[in-house]
C-alpha cells in the first residue's frame, strides 16, 4: 500500500498509524475537523517522512452530509487514486445526555455510524471498480453487545460492524478487503478521564495492529487479540442474565 486516506486523522490511534505509514514511505490524505491539529500532524509527518511522501490535509466534518462525497473525490484526486482507507473518526457519547435528548442520540449515530457508512460506501464502489483496495474501520468491542453504560455508542458501532460484514461479503470476490478493527480499552485523550488498568492498551500498540491488519487481514480484528475471547464470553451470556448485569 502506497496511498491511504485517513478519516479522523486527529484521533490518537490514527495519528500513531500515520506515523508508522510515513516511516514506510506511504503517502497520506489526512481528513479531520480541527484544522490546527491537522496541520500540526501534517507537519510532524512531513518531518518524519521527508520529501519522499506526500501529505495532504482535508478539513472534514462528519456531521455534514454533503462532505462525504467531496472528501472521497478530493482524496482520490489528490493522490491520483487510493490503495486503502482507515476510517477512524468518532466521538464517545455521554450516555446519560443521550438518554435525556433524542437530538443528541441522533447526532451521535450520525457521527459514529451514518458518516462512516457513507464514506465506506463511496470508497467501496471505487475500490470495486479498480479491483483492489482495503477498507478498514475502527469499530469497538462496545458494538458486540448493548450495555446500559454506553448503548448509543454500542449501537452505532454495532451498526457499522453489520454493514461491514455485508460489504465484505459483497466485495470478497472483487479483490477488496474489508477490515473491522475492534479495539478494547485504549489510553487516548478520548478516554483521559477513565481509571486505567491492566486491560488498557496504548494508541501505538493498537496502531501497529491496524497497520498489520491492513496489510493482510480480511475480517474482524480485535486489538489486542485477547478481546476476542472476552467478547466471545460477553456475547454468550444469556439475555435473561445479562439484562440484570451492570456492565
Amino acid at each position: 500500500m502506497k496511498k491511504i486516506l485517513i478519516v479522523g486523522a486527529n484521533s490518537a490511534i490514527a495519528a500513531a498509524a500515520a506515523r508508522q505509514w510515513v516511516g514506510q514511505g506511504v503517502s497520506l490524505v489526512l481528513a479531520g475537523r480541527n484544522p490546527d491539529r491537522l496541520s500540526a500532524l501534517a507537519a510532524d509527518l512531513h518531518v518524519r517522512g521527508g520529501s519522499a511522501v506526500k501529505i495532504v490535509e482535508a478539513i472534514y466534518d462528519a456531521t455534514d452530509r454533503t462532505a462525504h462525497a467531496a472528501l472521497v473525490e478530493g482524496a482520490w484526486n489528490a493522490l491520483q487514486g487510493l490503495d486503502g482507507v482507515l476510517i477512524a473518526h468518532g466521538s464517545l457519547p455521554d450516555q446519560k445526555a443521550c438518554e435525556a435528548s433524542v437530538a443528541q442520540t441522533l447526532m451521535e449515530l450520525e457521527t459514529n455510524a451514518l458518516s462512516v457508512i457513507a464514506v465506506a460506501s463511496l470508497l467501496a464502489n471505487r475500490f470495486e471498480a479498480q479491483g483492489r483496495g482495503v477498507i478498514a474501520v475502527i469499530g469497538s468491542v462496545a458494538g458486540d453487545r448493548g450495555r446500559q453504560s454506553n448503548y448509543v455508542y454500542g449501537a452505532a458501532k454495532g451498526m457499522v460492524g453489520l454493514f461491514l460484514q455485508g460489504l465484505r461479503n459483497r466485495l470478497s470476490r472483487k479483490g477488496v478487503r474489508v477490515v473491522t478493527i475492534k479495539p478494547g480499552f485504549v489510553d487516548t485523550p478520548m478516554t483521559a478521564s477513565f481509571k486505567k488498568g491492566a486491560l488498557w492498551a496504548s494508541a501505538d500498540q493498537v496502531a501497529s495492529g491496524i497497520v498489520r491488519a491492513m496489510e493482510r487481514a480480511d475480517g474482524e480484528v480485535y486489538l489486542p487479540g485477547f478481546w476476542r475471547l472476552i467478547m466471545l464470553i460477553i456475547r454468550h451470556i444469556p439475555e435473561a442474565v445479562f439484562k440484570r448485569m451492570s456492565l
Binding site: 510532524d44 518524519r48 481509571k195 486505567k196
Partner: protein
C-alpha cells in the same frame, strides 16, 4: 496505569493530571498549582507536585520542522531525545548535548538545563536552544530566544519548569558522519592522576567522563577509568550494530545494590581488561549504557534510591573530591555509578543552570533512610566549603538555605515563576 513518580522512585501523587495533546490549547484553569511533567527521568522531586496538578506533555510529541541542510530542528516539548536521534542520525545529525539517558523530553532537558560528556567543549543543553514558546497560565505566549524576551529565555532554561509551559523548542543539532565514535578507556590510580590525565587529554577530545571506584580505600582511593570519545569521521566500512533492549521485569523486594554486590562490581570493573588504543563504538552503548536495561531503577528495590550530584570549584580539585570520597567510605555506603567529569567554562544562558566550571561528581545511593540523609549532609559541607553546588534535577533532600546559596539568581528568578506553577522541589527550597 501510568504512575507519576520520579526515577529515584519517589512517589508524590498529584491531585490531578492533565494530559496535554494540543500545543494550541490554553492551560487548564485549576484551583491548585500546576507543573509540566515530561518522562519522569529526573531523580528527585523537581518534576513532582504533591497535592497539585501535573501537565503531562507525553502527547506533545510532534516534530514541527527539520532542515537537513542546517540541522535546525523544531519540535514540541514532549518529544524525547530518543525520537530526535531516530530522526536525525540517519540524516547525519546528532544531539548537540546529551545526558546519560535518551528517554528525556526536550522540555525536561531545557527545564533542567542538562549536560553531557562534552560540557567542556559544548556547554549545556541550553547553549544549543535557539528559541522556544512559553505558555503562561494567563494565556500569554512568548517567543523566547537570546534576542527576544531574553529574560524569559534565561529564566526558563534551567528554570525547573516553573516559568510556564514550554510548548515547542528549536534546537541546533550537530553534524556527524555516521553513528559511531572512536572511544578509548584509560585507567587511573588516584584523583591526582585523574586531574593530570584530564588536563592533558580533555582538550583533545569532544567527550570525556570518568568512572570512579568509590569503595577503594587507602592508596587506591580515587582510582577509576577515564573514557574519551569522538564522533568518527567518514568510514568506508561501518561495523554492524544490533541494538539490544532488556527490561528489569519486576521490582525485587529489597535492593540488589548492597555492600557485597558493590564491592564485587567495583573490583571487577576496575580491573576489567581494557582494549589498548581506540575502539569504534556505536553511540547507543557509548552514551546510553543503562538505556538498554529498561527500568533499571527497579534494582534498588521498592525503597528506591537517591542520586547525589555536586560540582566543586576547579581550584578545589583533588582535595575536595578526596574529602567527598572519604566521607562516603566512612559511611560504608557505596555507589556503583560514581561518575566524575570536569565542566568547562562555557556559561549557559540559564540563570539557574547547574553546570559551572569545576569537577562534578554524581553518585547513586540506595535509600537507607536517615543514614543516607546524614551522609548527604556531610557531603553538603564539603560542597559548601569548596564553592560548589548541587544539581536540582537529581536532588530530593538539599536544605533550602543551601539552594539559595548555590543559586543566588533565585530572587531574580522568582519574579518569573508563573503564579499558577509550583513543584515539590520549589516549595521545599523556598520554605523559610
Amino acid at each position: 496505569m501510568k504512575r507519576y513518580q520520579s526515577w529515584g522512585r519517589i512517589d508524590a501523587e498529584p491531585s490531578r493530571v492533565y494530559a496535554l495533546s494540543d500545543r494550541q490549547m490554553a492551560l487548564p484553569t485549576a484551583s491548585f498549582s500546576m507543573l509540566p511533567f515530561g518522562n519522569g527521568r529526573s531523580y528527585g522531586d523537581v518534576g513532582l507536585n504533591r497535592g497539585g496538578a501535573l501537565l503531562d506533555t507525553a502527547g506533545l510529541d510532534r516534530f514541527i520542522d527539520f532542515d537537513p541542510a542546517s540541522g535546525i530542528l523544531r519540535c514540541e516539548a514532549g518529544v524525547q531525545l530518543d525520537h530526535i536521534l531516530s530522526l536525525a542520525v540517519p540524516q547525519g545529525w546528532f544531539l548537540p548535548v546529551t545526558p546519560g539517558t535518551r528517554f528525556v523530553t526536550v522540555g525536561g532537558a531545557i527545564a533542567n538545563d542538562v549536560h553531557g560528556k562534552n560540557h567542556h567543549v559544548a556547554g549545556s543543553f541550553g547553549c544549543h536552544v535557539r528559541q522556544f514558546e512559553l505558555l503562561r497560565s494567563d494565556g500569554s505566549r512568548r517567543l523566547c530566544s537570546p534576542q527576544h524576551d531574553a529574560d524569559w529565555f534565561g529564566a526558563t532554561i534551567g528554570g525547573l519548569g516553573l516559568t510556564g509551559l514550554i510548548t515547542w523548542a528549536e534546537l541546533q543539532l550537530r553534524r556527524i558522519a555516521n553513528p559511531f565514535l572512536w572511544t578509548e578507556a584509560i585507567r587511573f590510580r588516584n584523583l591526582q592522576q585523574f586531574i593530570e590525565l584530564d588536563a592533558e587529554v580533555a582538550p583533545r577530545h569532544e567527550y570525556t567522563v570518568a568512572w570512579l571506584d568509590c569503595l577503594a580505600g587507602g592508596a587506591g582511593r580515587g582510582r577509576g577509568i577515564y573514557f574519551v570519545g569522538d564522533h568518527a569521521p567518514s568510514l568506508t566500512q561501518l561495523p554492524l550494530y544490533q541494538a539490544r533492549r532488556r527490561r528489569l521485569p519486576l521490582t525485587p523486594p529489597w535492593s540488589l545494590v548492597n555492600g557485597l554486590s558493590l564491592r564485587a562490581f567495583n573490583q571487577l570493573y576496575y580491573h576489567r581488561p581494557l582494549a589498548t588504543g581506540q575502539t569504534l563504538t556505536h553511540y547507543e552503548p557509548y552514551f546510553y549504557p543503562l538505556d538498554s536495561l529498561l527500568e533499571w531503577n527497579r534494582m534498588y528495590g521498592p525503597r528506591g534510591f537517591y542520586q547525589y550530584q555536586c560540582v566543586v570549584a576547579p581550584e578545589a580539585g583533588a582535595q575536595a573530591l578526596d574529602r567527598l570520597l572519604q566521607a562516603i567510605a566512612r559511611s560504608g555506603q557505596g555507589s556503583f555509578l560514581a561518575v566524575l567529569k570536569r565542566f568547562g567554562d562555557q556559561a549557559s544562558p540559564g540563570w539557574l543552570s547547574f553546570p559551572r566550571p569545576g569537577y562534578t561528581l554524581a553518585l547513586d545511593f540506595p535509600n537507607r533512610g536517615d543514614a543516607t540523609l546524614q551522609l548527604f549532609r556531610e557531603l553538603d559541607a564539603v560542597v559548601l566549603d569548596h564553592g560548589g553546588a548541587i544539581y536540582p534535577a537529581k536532588d530530593a533532600t538539599m536544605p533550602a538555605e543551601h539552594f539559595r546559596h548555590y543559586y543566588p539568581a533565585w530572587q531574580r528568578f522568582s519574579a518569573f515563576v508563573d503564579p499558577a506553577f509550583s513543584s515539590s522541589l520549589w516549595r521545599r527550597v523556598m520554605a523559610a
